[in-house]
Structure formats: structure tokens, C-alpha cells
């Protein structure tokens, strides 16, 4: 501690004083009563006397009782802190302690009572704080106040005092700390010094860890902070990256699901379309089955009719066969009858031989006469019976002839109807055939006219195609010119510009976060704002306006100022600005060359160019298509030319035809008229043939029936005439007559038989045979006649039956022919085939309808839109991830984490090391204190050394007690009495006391005040002291107050009269003429007298 400046006002005899002190030896000299002791007292008061103390009354000038004594002391403490303490000891006592760095400006530290407490703490002189237990009331006293600020009157008191009397231990602590190094073992000292040096690296003098810039703790903490900041920054980036990754992953999953959903929707649609197609196929198949079945049913119906006709024909054929059998039987009966007639004729011829003829003739003549009569009778009866029978037969024959005629008439009428029907059918068939042929002719004519039209249309179409191709060629030429005029950049340029723009957009997007600027005009002004690069209309504002933007805001305020505000941290802004500059230098020129203002327009331009190119290519393809089409049309014209040429001829073929009807039929058949028309024509040709056959057959049958009818009529007439004739001969009852005649005949014949028997007896035999033969002949001839009739009847019946069979066979043949043409097997096969196709088609449940397909298409559209939206979002997220993500940041993060861990470990090691040094130093000090608490041992040796030097070896060891009480001194050569001090002279005691005081001050590095303490010393010892003081003053401030400056200064060093101060030895010594710095009160004679 050392003093810098002392100012005094109104303190005792001094009106004012201002003394500036040096760091070394200050010799303050002046004659007696100049105020030296007052100055020392003021210094003590300034440091130690509380202003409120009652003892301050001693400070008041005796001649100015109303004066308020004031002191101002500037000093520097042991920690090199500068202070100013100001005290007012007057009626309004006050104290103020201020800190300063330059003694020019001051900052209050404390005031009032706190000033004393703070000062005593700073000094550490063993003075308790004010107000506490044991606190002194007035000027405090302790061992060290006595050592350092002893009053002039009590020079030797120090030799009787010790630290034991101190009320506060701070003085002992300070002295122990200051003196203990004097008693150290060399090894201990080496260890302690080494430890202290290491300790000082880490800790300050107050034991606190060093926190200056170069402190290892600060360096370690800074390193940790740097690494922590780096880690936090990277962690933040990693979190951003993770967040971006999570978002991208979520979107990827969503995108994947969208893709799957869209694919499923596509698949559903595709499936629905396929199933719909299948359904259509199935519908076509079922339609074919229905058609085939209908066709088969139609054929089967026709075939059933054929079979029915065939059955009828077979029945007719059986009837005919039966008729033939009857005819055959009749023929055989006729043949037999004729044979019997021939046999009877022969028998008659043989019976009529010559030998017995005469006798028998006689007898026979008789008998024959009888018999002749009888015969005549019988003949007559026979004739009558024959006539009667003939009449009966004629009646019957007439009845049969009438029935036959009636039947023939009926059959003829029937046949004639059939003929009429057949003719009508033939007419119809002919009409149909004619119509069909007319239809064919019409069709050919229509084909011809259609060919004419087609040829004309094809020709026109070819011309139109050629014209259209030419027009398209012109359009393409124009499009090519437009494409050339578009000045579209290359694909690589566009890709680069788009990528650059995307990077810039992403970078600018990264700056986003929102900006809000409030413009508050002091006067009305025009404001134009461009939030995020879009300029708005200028507006005149007269009050506060808030403008918001996402990442960038430009403002133009009148013509005064343009402001540009950007969001985001510096690195991102720099990156964005760099990209903007690149955009200006690389992107804008491309846009400029393309004549567009933004990437969207450029892309639109590129798209337009692409569209144009595609249009050109499509146009070229169209031209090729048109030319091909024209060629095709022209070829068609050539192909149609023969048909066109034949149109007049075909039209001529229509002469007389009903074109309207034909048109209707033609339209019914449609454009594929020819095949059905031809089939129909062929069918009708066949039907016509059948109809002709029918008509011919029926004509023949009608003719036959007419002939038969005529014959039957004739037979009826004949039979009726025969009947009438017979009846006319026999009466109306020929049957009765016949029976009667037969009875007559029978009776005659019985008579005749008698005759015959007689005759036979007469004729012996011949006559009877002849008769018998004749009778047999006659019977046979009758049988022949009957058989001939039956034969004629059977012949007629057989002929009719055959005719019916022939007609039926013709019809059946026609039907069979038609049936064969119908191809039932093919139709059945078609049914089986189509049914098999339907069966093979598989299950058809759940096949979609058109509505189902439309629904599936709607779902596909919706899913594609959602997918597109998700894709865009994912693209944005992927873009963000590309900017902030990646494995590199993880590597950096791990590296930074290790670096931070290392820094933390290093700090921990540093703390352990520092604490180890601290612990070692503390324990060294603790051990040292335990060992070297005897302060006297430390201080005794150096003081004794100086005393011996001062006294030229007269005194040796100085015994100081543990608390620095001076106990004894070794007197060399004079023994060592236990109370040697009592034998020392006053001067030597003053000198010893001064040496002890200086030694203590020296070790405390504290200023010391010597107030004329060596007045009893001789010149030699004063010289020694002067030298010693000057040596000591190199590291300790000494204030010597003396009236004999020559004791401490060379003659040349003493300032001249009027000179207030002189610096000597480079400032190590300062001589201060107190007469020039102290102003004493002007004492009037009256006052002096009063004082006296």
C-alpha cells in the first residue's frame, strides 16, 4: 500500500495543505511548527478516524471552532487498486470512499460508516470494524498502526507491543503471510515456489480462479463454448435434416400409397375395361347362340313339315300299294277266270265227239227235246234271270258309275283347286323370283350408282386430300418459321436455367420466415413496396403503414431512399445473393435471348416449341397420310371405273320394275344385299322348279281326272242306259225277278237234271259231260266277265293312288331338297359351337356395366390428381432435404461431438490439475504455518542483521516473540543478559524500533511514516539510515517528517527556497518543502494572546 496525495482543509493549525507523494522515499521537511505532526495526524485521521467520532473535536482548529476539518487522501492498496477517501470531521461529519483508475475520475465505493469498515478491511492492520464488539471509539490502535503510523512522541513503544493486543486478527494474518517466507527450508521453498508459480497460472492473488482473457480456464471454457456452439449448430442442422428426412419419408410413404392406390385404380379400370370387353364378347356370343338356336328351330320346323309330308306320302304310297295289290288280285282273278273259260271251252269240245252221238242223239233228242224245252225254259228263265241279274247288275253298275263319277268329279274339283293353288304358288314364286332378280338388278344398279357416287366422292376426296396436304405443307412451313422465330434455347441451357432457378427459389425459400416493416411517415410521402419481388402500386401515405413479406422486401420512399430488407441468416442470404447474381449473369441472358421474363415462360416457350415441333411432325405425318389417302382414293376410282361404265346398262335392266318397292327391299337388305339376294334367288329358282313340277303334276292329274271323270260320266250314262234298258226288260224289281227266275231255273234245272240223268243214261255219258262242259264254260265266261270288271276298277284305283303318291313324293322331294339346303347339321353345329363358346367363356357373374367402367375412370382421375399433388409435395420435400440433409452432416456432428467431449475432458483435467496445485499450495502453506507460526523467528534475523550492520557488529541475534514482541537482543562481547534492551541507549532503542518497523513495513510492502524518529541518532548512524532508507524505498514507500532535511538529503538535493518539491534519484527520493505546501492559519496578535 502507498499514499499518493494528501489534501487537508481546516485541520488543527493547518488551514490547507496539498501534498503529492512519491512511490519511494519522501522527505517532508520544514521548520518546527510548520505542521509536520499535524500532517501526520491528518494522515492517520484520514485513514483511521471515523468522522462521527468524538475525538474529531481534536481536529478542529482551535481558532476556528466553526471550521469543519476535512481530509482527502489518495492511496493505492496491496492489490494495486486506487482509492480516494474523503472525510469531513465537522458538525456534519461524513466519509466517502471512491475508486479511481486515474485520480481524475472517481466512482463511489461506499460512504458513512461503511467507509471505515472498508478501509480497515483493505488495510488488514488488525483494527476491528466500527461499531462492533471491541471496536475503538476514537482513533483505533493496533500493532500495525503503531508500526506504520507511529506518532513522534512514542517512538520506542513498538518495542513493547505485540500482535497479542490486537482486537482483530487481520494484522497477524498479514504479518504471518508476509514473514513466513523468511523461515523456509530450501527444498520446501523450491517446492513452494514451483507450486506457487503453477498456482499463479490458474489463480489470482485472492485465490479466485483467473478469468482474464489468457486464463487457462477461460481458454478451456472458450474452447468448450466454441465446440458446444459448433455442436449446437450442427445438431440444429441435423435436426433440420432429420425433420426434413422424416417429412420426406412420410411423404414418400404417402406417395407410395398414392402410387399403389393409383395403380390399383388403374388396374381396376383396366380390369373393368377388360371385363367390359369380355362382357361385350359374352353378349355377342349369347346373341349368336340365340340366332343359331332360332335358325335351328326354323330348320327343324321346316324339316318337321317335310317329315309330316313324307308320312302322308308313305300313307298314300301304302294306299297305292294296296290298290296295286287289289289290281293284281283282280288281274289274277281275271286270268284265272279266262283260264277256266278256256278249260271249259276245251271240255265242251271234247264232250261233243261222234260215237254215241246218234243214240244219244235220239234219246238225247227226246230228252233233249225235253231238255230243250226245259232248256228253253231254263234259258228263258236264265235269260230272264240274266236279264234280271243284268238289270240288278246294271242298277248296281249304274249306282257304281254314278258314285264313281261323283268321286271323279270331286277328285277333279279337288285337284283343280290344288292345281289352281299350285299355279298361284308358281305365280308367287315367279313374282318373287322376278322381284328378287329385279332386286339384284336394282342392287347392281344401286351398286353402280353407289360406285358412281363413291368414285365421284373418291375423286373429290383425293382432290381434297391433295389440296389439304398442300395446305398443311404451307402451314408446316409457317410453323417451321414460327419455331425458328421462337429462339428456344438448347435443352441443356433450359435444364441448367431451370436447375439454377430451382436452387435460387429453394435458397430464397430458405430465407423465408416473414418480414414486417412499419413505415411511419413524418410527412405525407409516396411509398412503393415490393414484397418478395412483386412491385405494388405506389401509394401516398400520411400515417403508419405495415408492409409484410415472406423473405424479401423492397421499399421506395419518394425519391429519398430505396430500402431492401432480406430475411434469413447471413450465410443463407449470401448463398441466395450469390445465386441471384448467378441468375442475373447466367439465367437472365438465356431468358432474354428467348424473349421471356421467367422460367415458367421459358418452359412454356420450350413447351410451345415442343408443341410446334410435335405439330410439325404431326402435320408431316398428316400430309403423308393425306397423300396415301389420295392415292388410295384414286386407285379406288380406277377400280370402280368398269362398274361406273356399266351403270346405263344396269339401269336399262330395271325397265318395268317397281323401283320404289325395290328400293324398300334393297334398304331392308342393306348394303350387303347381294349375298342374301343371290341366296334368295337361288332358293326361289328352286322353289320355281318345284312349283312348275307341282303345276305340271297337277295338270297331268287334273287331265287324268278329267279323263276319268269323262269316262266315269260315260260309264254312268252307259250304266244308266243299261240299267234303264235292263229294267225295261225285267221290270223295276229285277232282284225279285232274278230270285224268282232263279227259283224257276233251279226248278227247271232240277228237271233238267232229271232229263239230264235220263239223257246221261241215254247218252252214256257224253251228253252229260258236254252239258257240264257247257255249263262250266258259261260259268267261266261269267266269271271272266266279273273279273274283268273288278280288274278295271282296281286299275282305276291304282292309277289314282299312284298319282297321289307321285304328287306327295314331288312335294316331299321339294321339301327334302329345301331341307338339305337348310344345312341343319351346320346350324346345329353352329348352336353347339356357340353354346360351347358360351360355356367355355366361363362364369359371367359380376361383369361390369358401362356405369361401372365410368365409376372406375372417375376413381382413376381422382387418384391421379391426388398422386400428382403428393408428388409435387414430395418433390418440394426432397428438394428441401437435398439442401439440408445427408450423411455428411452426421459425420460432422460426430466429429464435433468428439471435439466437444475432448474439450470437456480437457477442462476437467485442467480443473483437476488446477485443484491439485491449489491443494498442494494450500497444504504447503498449512504445513508451513504450522511449522513457522513463530513470526519472531522470521523477522528477528533480518532486523538483527541490519542492527549489527548499523552498530558495526555490536549487537547480534535479536529475539522477537511469536507475536513480534521484542524480547531481547544479543550484545556481542558483552554477554547476553536476559534484559539487554534495558541497557540500550535511547538512540539505539529508537534505531532498533525504527529497524523493526521498517522490516515489518518492508515485508508488508506497506508505506511507513517516520515522524522525526531518529532525533537521537548520530551522524554516522543517520548516514547509514539514509542509505538503508534509500535502498528500502526502492520497494517500500517511506514518509520521513523532519525539521532537519540534511539528515536524509544531500545538500544539493534540498530544494531551493521557495521550491516546493524536488525529485531525486530518478524519482526514488522526493524532497518536499512543507512550507510551500502547507498553509497555516494566519494568527492575529489578539488570537495569539487568547491562545496564550
Amino acid at each position: 500500500m502507498y499514499f499518493v496525495r494528501l489534501k487537508i482543509d481546516g485541520f488543527r493549525a493547518i488551514e490547507s495543505a496539498d501534498v503529492e507523494l512519491g512511490r519511494g522515499l519522501n522527505v517532508l521537511y520544514g521548520p518546527n511548527d510548520v505542521g509536520k505532526s499535524t500532517l501526520a495526524a491528518a494522515l492517520r485521521a484520514a485513514l483511521l478516524l471515523p468522522p462521527q467520532s468524538s475525538e474529531t473535536r481534536n481536529c478542529v482548529p482551535w481558532n476556528r471552532r466553526d471550521c469543519a476539518p476535512r481530509t482527502t487522501l489518495h492511496f493505492v492498496d496491496d492489490q494495486d487498486r486506487r482509492w480516494r477517501v474523503r472525510k469531513n470531521f465537522g458538525d456534519s461529519p461524513s466519509g466517502e470512499l471512491e475508486a479511481t483508475k486515474d485520480d481524475v475520475s472517481f466512482s463511489p465505493e461506499c460512504s458513512g460508516r461503511e467507509v471505515e469498515e472498508k478501509l480497515r478491511s483493505l488495510l488488514g492492520w488488525g483494527i476491528p470494524g466500527p461499531g462492533g464488539k471491541g471496536s475503538p471509539r476514537g482513533l483505533p490502535h493496533s500493532f500495525l498502526t503503531q508500526v506504520l503510523l507511529a506518532e513522534q512522541t512514542d517512538v520506542r513503544a513498538i518495542l513493547k507491543e505485540s500482535l497479542e493486543e490486537d482486537k482483530d486478527g487481520s494484522g497477524k494474518v498479514r504479518l504471518t503471510a508476509a514473514l513466513k517466507t523468511l523461515a523456509q527450508d530450501p527444498l520446501f521453498k523450491k517446492v513452494l515456489d514451483g507450486t506457487q508459480a503453477e498456482y499463479d497460472v490458474y489463480f489470482g492473488k485472492g485465490g479466485q480462479a483467473k478469468r482474464a482473457k489468457n486464463s487457462p480456464f477461460i481458454k478451456a471454457a472458450e474452447e468448450i463454448k466454441r465446440r458446444s456452439d459448433e455442436l449446437a449448430d450442427l445438431t440444429k442442422k441435423r435436426e433440420e435434416s432429420k425433420s426434413a428426412e422424416v417429412r420426406a419419408q412420410t411423404l414418400r410413404e404417402e406417395h407410395g400409397m398414392r402410387l399403389e392406390t393409383a395403380a390399383e385404380a388403374d388396374a381396376d379400370l383396366e380390369r373393368a375395361l377388360a371385363l367390359r370387353e369380355k362382357a361385350r364378347v359374352y353378349e355377342a356370343l349369347t346373341l349368336r347362340v340365340a340366332e343359331a338356336r332360332a335358325r335351328l328351330r326354323s330348320i327343324d320346323a321346316e324339316l318337321a313339315v317335310t317329315e309330316e309330308k313324307h308320312g302322308a306320302m308313305e300313307a298314300l304310297r301304302a294306299e297305292a300299294d294296296r290298290c296295286v295289290a287289289v289290281l293284281d288280285e283282280a288281274s289274277r282273278a281275271s286270268d284265272l277266270a279266262n283260264g277256266a273259260a278256256r278249260d271249259a271251252t276245251e271240255a265242251l269240245r271234247q264232250a261233243s265227239s261222234d260215237d254215241a252221238t246218234r243214240e244219244r242223239d235220239l234219246q238225247r233228242a227226246q230228252i233233249e227235246g225235253q231238255r230243250a224245252a226245259l232248256q228253253a225254259k231254263i234259258a228263258d228263265a236264265e235269260t230272264r234271270r240274266t236279264r234280271a241279274q243284268a238289270a240288278v247288275d246294271a242298277v248296281e253298275a249304274a249306282a257304281q258309275a254314278e258314285a264313281q263319277e261323283t268321286k271323279a268329279v270331286t277328285a277333279l274339283a279337288t285337284k283343280r283347286r290344288a292345281l289352281e293353288e299350285a299355279r298361284a304358288a308358281l305365280g308367287k314364286v315367279e313374282d318373287h323370283l322376278r322381284l328378287t332378280k329385279g332386286l339384284s338388278a336394282y342392287g347392281r344398279w344401286r351398286d353402280g350408282t353407289a360406285a358412281e357416287q363413291e368414285s365421284r366422292a373418291a375423286s373429290e376426296s383425293a382432290a381434297a386430300c391433295r389440296a389439304q396436304a398442300d395446305a398443311l405443307g404451307a402451314e408446316i412451313a409457317a410453323l417451321e418459321a414460327s419455331l425458328k422465330a421462337l429462339s428456344v434455347p438448347t435443352e441443356a441451357e433450359v435444364r441448367a436455367v431451370v436447375a439454377l432457378r430451382r436452387s435460387l427459389d429453394l435458397s430464397e425459400a430458405a430465407l423465408g420466415g416473414g418480414l414486417s416493416v412499419v413505415v411511419t411517415p413524418k410527412r405525407s410521402l409516396t411509398l412503393r413496396a415490393a414484397p418478395d419481388g412483386t412491385w405494388r402500386e405506389a401509394a401516398t401515405i400520411s400515417r403508419a403503414v405495415e408492409v409484410e413479406a415472406e423473405g424479401k422486401l423492397e421499399l421506395q420512399i419518394d425519391d429519398l431512399v430505396d430500402i431492401r430488407v432480406s430475411a434469413g441468416d447471413a450465410a443463407r442470404r449470401t448463398a441466395a445473393e450469390t445465386l441471384r447474381q448467378r441468375w442475373l449473369s447466367e439465367g437472365e441472358p438465356v431468358l432474354g435471348r428467348a424473349g421471356v421474363t421467367d422460367v415458367a415462360a421459358l418452359e412454356a416457350r420450350v413447351k410451345s416449341a415442343g408443341d410446334l415441333t410435335r405439330q410439325i411432325e404431326a402435320g408431316r405425318r398428316e400430309i403423308a397420310t393425306l397423300q396415301d389417302k389420295a392415292k388410295s382414293r384414286e386407285a379406288r376410282v380406277t377400280e370402280l371405273d368398269p362398274i361406273v361404265r356399266s351403270v346405263p346398262e344396269r339401269e336399262e335392266a330395271l325397265t318395268g320394275l317397281d323401283r320404289a318397292a325395290l328400293e324398300q327391299r334393297y334398304l331392308e337388305l342393306g348394303k350387303h344385299w347381294e349375298q342374301p339376294a343371290k341366296a334368295r334367288e337361288a332358293e326361289q329358282e328352286k322353289a320355281l322348279a318345284v312349283a312348275h313340277t307341282n303345276v305340271a303334276t297337277l295338270d297331268r292329274e287334273v287331265a287324268g281326272l278329267e279323263e276319268g271323270g269323262k269316262h266315269a260320266g260315260a260309264q254312268r250314262i252307259i250304266a244308266a242306259a243299261a240299267r234303264e234298258a235292263a229294267l225295261a226288260q225285267v221290270g223295276p224289281e229285277p232282284a225279285d225277278l232274278a230270285r224268282r227266275v232263279s227259283a224257276e231255273i233251279d226248278a227247271a234245272r232240277r228237271e233238267g237234271e232229271v232229263l239230264e240223268a235220263s239223257l246221261a243214261r241215254i247218252s252214256a255219258g257224253g251228253t252229260a259231260e258236254v252239258d257240264q262242259a257247257r255249263r262250266s264254260l258259261e260259268s267261266a265266261q261269267a266269271a271272266v266277265k266279273t273279273a274283268d270288271v273288278a280288274r278295271a276298277r282296281a286299275t282305276t284305283a291304282a292309277t289314282e293312288a299312284r298319282s297321289r303318291v307321285d304328287r306327295a313324293a314331288g312335294e316331299v322331294a321339294m321339301l327334302r331338297e329345301r331341307g338339305a339346303a337348310l344345312d341343319r347339321a351346320g346350324a346345329a353345329a353352329a348352336v353347339r359351337s356357340s353354346e360351347a363358346e358360351v360355356t367355355a367363356f366361363g362364369p359371367v357373374d359380376g361383369l361390369p356395366t358401362d356405369v361401372d367402367v365410368e365409376k372406375a375412370q372417375a376413381i382413376v382421375t381422382e387418384q391421379r390428381m391426388l398422386l400428382l399433388e403428393t408428388t409435387r409435395t414430395l418433390d418440394a420435400a426432397e428438394g428441401a432435404l437435398q439442401q439440408v440433409g445427408g450423411a455428411t452432416i452426421q459425420d460432422d456432428l460426430e466429429d464435433a461431438r468428439r471435439a466437444k467431449d475432448n474439450a470437456v475432458d480437457k477442462e476437467r483435467d485442467l480443473e483437476v490439475t488446477a485443484k491439485a496445485w491449489q491443494l498442494l499450495r494450500d497444504k504447503l502453506q498449512q504445513a508451513e504455518e504450522a511449522e513457522g507460526a513463530h513470526l519472531g523467528r522470521a523477522l528477528g534475523a533480518p532486523v538483527a542483521e541490519r542492527l549489527g550492520e548499523l552498530t558495526e557488529g555490536r549487537y547480534g541475534t535479536l529475539t522477537l516473540g511469536p507475536t513480534l514482541r521484542t524480547e531481547n537482543v544479543e550484545v556481542r562481547g558483552g554477554g547476553s543478559p536476559e534484559d539487554a534492551l534495558s541497557f540500550l541507549s535511547v538512540g539505539t532503542l529508537e534505531q532498533l524500533a525504527t529497524l523493526v518497523r521498517i522490516a515489518i513495513a518492508e515485508h508488508l510492502r506497506s508505506a511507513i511514516v517516520l515522524d522525526d524518529h531518529l532525533v537521537q541518532s548520530d551522524r554516522a548512524r543517520l548516514d547509514w539510515f539514509r542509505r538503508m532508507l534509500r535502498r528500502t524505498a526502492t520497494h517500500t514507500q517511506i514518509l520521513v517528517l523532519t525539521c532537519r532535511p540534511a539528515d536524509y538529503l544531500e545538500e544539493s538535493e534540498i530544494p531551493a527556497a521557495g521550491e516546493p518539491m524536488r525529485e531525486i534519484a530518478g524519482g526514488a527520493v522526493r524532497a518536499i518543502n512543507l512550507e510551500t505546501v502547507i498553509r497555516r492559519w494566519q494568527i492575529t496578535p489578539g488570537a495569539a494572546a487568547a491562545r496564550a
Binding site: 523456509q184 527450508d185 445427408g886 468428439r898 483437476v912 485443484k915 491443494l919
Partner: protein, 391 residues
């Protein structure tokens, strides 16, 4: 040139080989090693550049026809001039007009605006004409009629698209040697980021005869059991971490007339990263005496409890290994973990023998201080011991 291997033949007839290429990746020029002290970090950073001499030397010795650099050549897309200029200087001294070199941007140094790969960058302008930067997805280079290279760059630090998707499949009748080059992850290592995923069967799917990839730092085939057609990570030419498996290599690939790719792994690294634990003074002594430590990054764990005298010896050995401000250490770089190196203070008699009473008292006070942290007390005692023995 550190590698003294003779020229390769791999049991092939001379005229069998129609193409030779050198495949390298992951140079990581400019990489910072934050966890290391500044001086050590600088050494490791410089090693990235120094190893390039070895790589180029192998290329010349093996007379390769091309050099493929499969990404992450720089640790950052915006390296300072300090890092790209030496590379251009080195390349400028190579007269490889007939040996094209292909540089591929990776995920650490993607081709982004203003990056070192961008066309306006001074680095690009300073590259010799035979150095080709892969700056587009459809990059191709034909080696006459016999071979073609397809390469796909990284254009961002992260991406999810398989770069091999950009490579066209082999067309019928194309009998050329087809080589692919890209940078990304093949998913066959746990806990690896899913950036730029490369399918393991990309080479097969795309009809490639060799797929040169970069990203992970150890030499390996992908998948490990498929050698034909080879897909290779050559790894970083200089290791970058202790946990890397088989780093420090390049791949020299010889293509035969039959389009077979014969791969030779060749070491180029000058540094080796090694982790060692010593549990006795003898082991520590043996480690100190090793002669291969100069180019070694040594992570040393000391796990032993020693009495003061031996503790002092151990400290001296560790100083030998680590070096001081006045003397180089025997280890190129030492990462010391001495958390388990303890001072055995049970024999206090030996510790304080010959000391003055005040020091003995000090030692006893330290030992008896129950409030003191044991590590602090241990160090304090050792410092007391060490200070007392200083001359």
C-alpha cells in the same frame, strides 16, 4: 511413391488385357479433424493431399488407361483455394494427355451452384484438359470401340434416387466393356444413411462389367460374395477414423478381352490408425520402443496403478511418445487416455524419504484431507513428489 509393387499381371497374358483403370474415391481434401489438437489435425488434413502422390504414382507404374475418382474428393462442396490449388498444381505436373481422369462429385462435395465443380469455378478452369468432371446424369466416355464409361454425379447432399437408374442397360450386340461410376450407399452396412441408394445388383441389371463406387472408407466388394461383375468400394486412400475397416487403398482393375474385370487392391496410405491399451510399464516401454510409430495415429489407453517412481517413469515414456514443444514425439499422433492411470500412494515412507519435516507434513495433510477429490489429491501428491525431485 511409397508403393514398390511391380507391375500387375494377375496371371494374365499381356495381350489378354485390353484396358487398365485405377479406381479411387473419398479423398476428402480439406477435411477438418475437430477432435484432434490443432497441430495433429493439420497433419491429418495434409495427409489427404500427400497421399495423392502415391495414387498418381500407382497409376503411372501400372500404366493405367484411365483414373476413376468416385466422389467425395473434397470434404465440402466449397473448399477454399488452399485445398483445390495444390491439387490443380499436382495435376498440372502430370502429362497424362492419354490417360483421362474422371472426377465425380459425391455427397460431401455435390455439384451445386457455386461449388468447386461448377463450370465458372477457378478450380474447373485450372484443370488440365484430360481431367473430366462428371457434371451431368448421362455422362458417357468412350474408350474407342472397346469400352465405355457411364458416370452419374451427386447433385445434392442427400437423395433417394438410385444413381444407377440413369445408366442404360446393355443393348443386344453391344460387346464393349461397360464401366459404371457413381457415389452412394449400398445398404449392406448397418446404421448407414440411406443416401443415394445403389442397388447391390446394379452392375448385373445394367449390364456393367465393373461398377466403381465411392462413399464408405474401407475396401470391399458389394456384395461381399460376388466377384463377377465386381462392384467395388476402394475406400479412402488415407484413413479418417479408428473404426474404419481396411482403409488406405486404391483398386487397380484389368479388363480382359472377354470383358472380365480383374481387381487388385493396392495400399497407398502413409498413415495407420491404431488403438492400443497398455497395462504395465513393460508394455508401455515396449510400445515406446516400437519403430513404426512415426506415421501412426495412436489411440493409447493406459490402465495401470503405479507407485510414484514408476509413475514418473510412465510419465517420461508418455512424454517420449507424445513429444513436447521442444521435441517430436515417437508417435506420429498420440491420443492419450489416462483415465485409468493411477498413482499408488500406499508406500508413503518411500515417497517422503529424505524430505524436510514441513514437506512430510504437507504430504500427510494432502493424504489426510478427506474432502479433497481423490484424483486431485493423487495429482497433488505426485506433483509434490515430482517437484521435490526436480534439480
Amino acid at each position: 511413391m511409397t508403393n514398390l509393387n511391380l507391375n500387375l499381371n494377375l496371371n494374365l497374358e499381356e495381350d489378354e488385357v485390353v484396358l487398365r483403370v485405377l479406381h479411387t474415391a473419398d479423398w476428402h481434401l480439406g477435411r477438418r479433424f475437430r477432435a484432434f489438437p490443432e497441430e495433429d489435425a493439420r497433419k491429418l488434413t495434409r495427409a489427404r493431399l500427400e497421399v495423392l502422390d502415391s495414387i498418381f504414382g500407382v497409376a503411372e507404374r501400372q500404366s493405367v488407361d484411365a483414373v476413376l475418382c468416385a466422389g467425395d474428393l473434397f470434404d465440402d462442396p466449397f473448399p477454399v483455394q488452399e485445398w483445390w490449388e495444390p491439387l490443380t498444381d499436382m495435376l498440372g505436373k502430370l502429362a497424362w494427355t492419354n490417360r483421362p481422369m474422371f472426377m465425380l462429385p459425391g455427397n460431401h462435395d455435390p455439384l451445386v451452384a457455386e461449388s468447386v465443380w461448377s463450370s465458372g469455378h477457378a478450380f474447373r478452369r485450372a484443370l488440365p484438359s484430360w481431367v473430366h468432371v462428371v457434371d451431368k446424369d448421362d455422362f458417357t466416355y468412350s474408350f474407342g470401340e472397346k469400352a465405355v464409361l457411364y458416370a452419374v454425379p451427386c447433385m445434392s447432399k442427400a437423395g433417394q434416387r438410385d444413381p444407377s437408374d440413369f445408366i442404360p442397360c446393355r443393348e443386344a450386340g453391344d460387346d464393349r466393356i461397360r464401366i459404371g461410376m457413381m457415389h452412394g450407399s449400398t445398404f449392406d452396412m448397418e446404421e448407414h444413411q440411406t443416401n443415394f441408394p445403389i442397388g447391390e445388383d446394379s452392375a448385373v441389371r445394367r449390364g456393367l462389367d465393373y461398377l466403381a463406387i465411392g462413399d464408405t472408407h474401407g475396401f470391399r466388394y458389394v456384395p461381399a460374395n460376388r466377384k463377377v461383375p465386381p462392384t467395388i468400394y476402394p475406400g479412402a486412400p488415407e484413413p479418417t477414423a479408428f473404426d474404419e475397416k481396411d482403409p488406405g487403398n486404391v483398386a487397380v482393375v484389368l479388363f480382359t478381352k472377354r470383358r472380365e474385370a480383374k481387381v487388385h487392391q493396392e495400399r497407398v496410405a502413409s498413415w495407420t490408425w491404431e488403438e492400443v491399451t497398455v497395462r504395465s510399464l513393460v508394455e508401455l516401454q515396449a510400445l515406446r520402443d516400437r519403430r513404426d510409430l512415426l506415421k501412426r495415429v495412436l489411440q493409447l489407453h493406459v490402465e495401470m496403478r503405479l507407485p510414484p517412481s514408476e509413475y514418473e517413469q510412465a510419465e517420461a515414456l508418455l512424454r517420449d511418445l507424445e513429444g513436447t514443444s521442444a521435441r517430436l514425439g515417437r508417435a506420429g499422433i498420440l491420443v492419450l487416455d489416462r483415465a485409468k492411470m493411477d498413482l499408488d500412494t500406499t508406500d508413503m515412507e518411500t515417497l517422503v524419504a529424505g524430505w524436510p519435516e514441513v514437506l512430510v507434513r504437507t504430504a500427510n495433510l494432502i493424504k489426510a484431507d478427506r474432502d479433497a477429490d481423490p484424483r486431485v489429491a493423487q495429482q497433488a501428491l505426485y506433483k509434490l513428489y515430482e517437484l521435490s525431485r526436480r534439480p
